[in-house]
């Protein structure tokens, strides 16, 4: 299995938010964590939100070009999960280039990360979204199937 195939397999249909209702950074994190919680991917949404909020204090995960990848490890996440969310309007996320963020990938994993794929997954997503054609496709993706195809087709 290639790295791209492994990454694509991590995207679940329920963990896809086509257009966030949130209008600011904290609301965006809350909405995405709520989705993880509703789908049974995290044990305690308060703990996950706290961890992600502190990660943003350490330094914004808005890496520029309309992308943010809030990520971290917590006991409240039994296994690695990736959630994709989009904001058509864009959200001020204190990104490195000070531009609004449209595309979000939340990655949460347990501290022990037995499969040891947390950092490779993070790295692969960063590598992919650096390409403008990938970002354009992500802005148009309608569901997780299309999301998977974006990551597979451009492998």
């Amino acid at each position: 299995m290639t790295k791209e195939t492994k990454l694509a397999a991590c995207f679940e249909s329920a963990l896809f938010i086509p257009n966030l209702r949130a209008t600011d950074r904290l609301q965006a994190l809350e909405e995405m964590v709520e989705c993880l919680y509703e789908n049974g991917r995290v044990r305690d949404k308060g703990l996950v939100l706290e961890m992600l909020r502190r990660r943003e204090i350490l330094g914004s995960t808005g890496i520029g070009k309309g992308i943010a990848i809030p990520h971290g490890r917590t006991l409240a996440a039994p296994e690695l999960s990736i959630l994709f969310a989009r904001s058509i309007e864009g959200i001020d996320f204190d990104a490195l280039d000070n531009k609004p963020v449209h595309l979000f990938f939340i990655i949460v994993a347990p501290p022990h990360d037995r499969s040891n794929i947390y950092l490779p997954v993070l790295g692969k997503i960063v590598e992919k979204v650096k390409e403008s054609r990938i970002r354009r496709k992500l802005m148009k993706s309608e569901d997780s199937d299309e999301l998977r195809k974006v990551f597979l087709a451009d492998a």
Binding site: R43, D44, G46, L47, E50, M51, R54, R55, I57, L58, G59, S60, T61, I63, G64, I69, G72, R73, T74, L75, A76, P78, L96, P110, P111, H112, L119, L122, G123, V126
Partner: protein, 118 residues
């Protein structure tokens, strides 16, 4: 006095924060994140937050946390099924909570780590 569930949540928050701080100081972990384009510039702010968080935890549990963390790295570990994922020993049924809401602070009788029920 804090109830057990709140104390356990504080301990997990503390451990998550400690992991973040530790990796922000570790040249290898820090380098990997920075190479990907992420900033890790406010470690001191997290250190301050850590101090405030620790003050909210009772001394008994905080001392236990610090002692076990010093020994094993991670003081709070998940339990899957009835197995402590710190030492992989099966726990006696007498300490297994009947429901998740029953969760209280329990210690692995074998390794002494604080248990977090998944």
């Amino acid at each position: 006095m804090l109830n057990v569930k709140k104390t356990l949540r504080l301990l997990v928050t503390l451990q998550d924060l400690d992991l973040m701080i530790r990796e922000s100081h570790d040249p290898e972990s820090k380098g990997e994140e920075e190479d990907l384009g992420f900033e890790l510039k406010n470690v001191e702010t997290l250190q301050t937050a850590r101090g405030k968080l620790a003050e909210q935890i009772g001394l008994r549990w905080l001392n236990l946390y610090e002692r076990v963390a010093k020994r094993y790295g991670r003081a709070v570990v998940p339990v899957e099924g009835r197995v402590c994922l710190g030492c992989f020993v099966t726990l006696p049924t007498s300490i297994v909570p009947k429901t998740l809401e029953d969760s209280e602070i329990t210690i692995c009788e074998n390794c002494g780590r604080i248990l977090y029920w998944l």
